[in-house]
Assembly symmetry: C2
Homo-oligomer: 207 residues x 2
């Protein structure tokens, strides 16, 4: 609560614009000057508020990306309904924002992971943390599904979580340039096919 309103407002503006440009052009292809030009601010302002470009980026991850991943990918699957339905809807919504070219934070995450993978361990640490949070929450969702009788007890929860994240990361990559809407539809259909293989066949449906 120590930081003045003005300070926080400026930092927020910088981070929002920074994320937009980093996402659109990549971290290494976006210069600090690009961001400042967009905001009509100067170099001095930037280095007054942030230590370095890298520090700036890490703060963006922690302030913007983490929270959005929570609200878009984690909270939606925490209910007590059928886990597979929850995940289906969650993916459906996330991919739908992607179709409309909005910031889909699941992809923001995997996009940056791709850019820094094996290249910048410092930043990867933060990105892997978020990924881990997503993974852990998917695992417990699947376990809950098994406990509640929606999912076959023999499925490997960790495996399912990994497979889901993999396919999500992949489809988002493929949706960037070519036929996003059609690909989303095809993807969702196959996801449902996959889920059929995980269902508990003895479960008494209430439909």
């Amino acid at each position: 609560m120590e930081k003045s309103l003005k300070r926080m407002a400026t930092m927020q503006r910088m981070q929002v614009t920074g994320l937009e440009l980093f996402y659109k052009n990549g971290y290494y292809n976006t210069s600090v000057d690009d961001i400042l030009k967009e905001l009509s601010l100067s170099k001095g302002a930037f280095y007054y508020h942030f230590e370095s470009k890298e520090d700036f980026f890490i703060q963006i991850i922690q302030n913007l990306v983490v929270r959005k991943v929570y609200s878009m990918l984690i909270e939606p699957i925490e209910g007590h309904e059928n886990t597979l339905d929850l995940i289906t809807n969650c993916f459906e919504n996330a991919l739908e924002t992607a179709v409309h070219n909005e910031l889909d934070y699941g992809f923001v995450l995997s996009n940056f992971i791709n850019e820094f993978n094996g290249k910048n361990p410092e930043i990867m640490k933060y990105l892997n943390d978020i990924l881990k949070i997503w993974e852990v929450n998917l695992v417990s969702a699947v376990q809950k599904g098994k406990f509640n009788g929606y999912i076959d007890r023999h499925v490997d929860s960790e495996g399912v979580a990994l497979y889901l994240i993999s396919s999500f990361i992949g489809i988002r990559t493929l949706m960037v340039e070519t036929a996003p809407s059609a690909r989303k539809y095809r993807f969702m259909t196959q996801l449902r096919q996959y889920f059929k293989a995980l269902e508990n066949k003895e479960h008494i449906s209430h439909n």
Copy 2:
């Protein structure tokens, strides 16, 4: 056949080293000088053989990447055995080379796609072409599987191909930094689960 042996040998050396470095550090994070230092060659040599860095990269894609994608991801699924088994083995092998940190060309491809996606249309054209070839061949493999009675006739071949490529791209991203061997195993198990949902249940097995 006009080009001299010396010329071709040097160009080949440059391309092999170039691909290695581009793959390891990314295209934009690898300078022409980096490649030349590795080969103890000079700027003059580089621009004598290639028009530009971009031209150089495109030649790498067409000479090295395309061929490897064919031999690693397309030819292995062209047999007449059970399509789902062929794909399973193909993915298994591709991911195994990945575990040993060798150049896995499926990932080389998706790695570059990630780097240029929405940023360099000229290069993306070439990358999307290769992706398309892979996709088309997966589609016909699935169709063959339906025709031969291994795969349920109601499955959407294009959807399956897309889902397979998505999950492959995704798992390769996730295998770069964390527990590649364990993740490969988990992934393959889930892939088999998915394939169970595609199998033709009326097919008379010969096992």
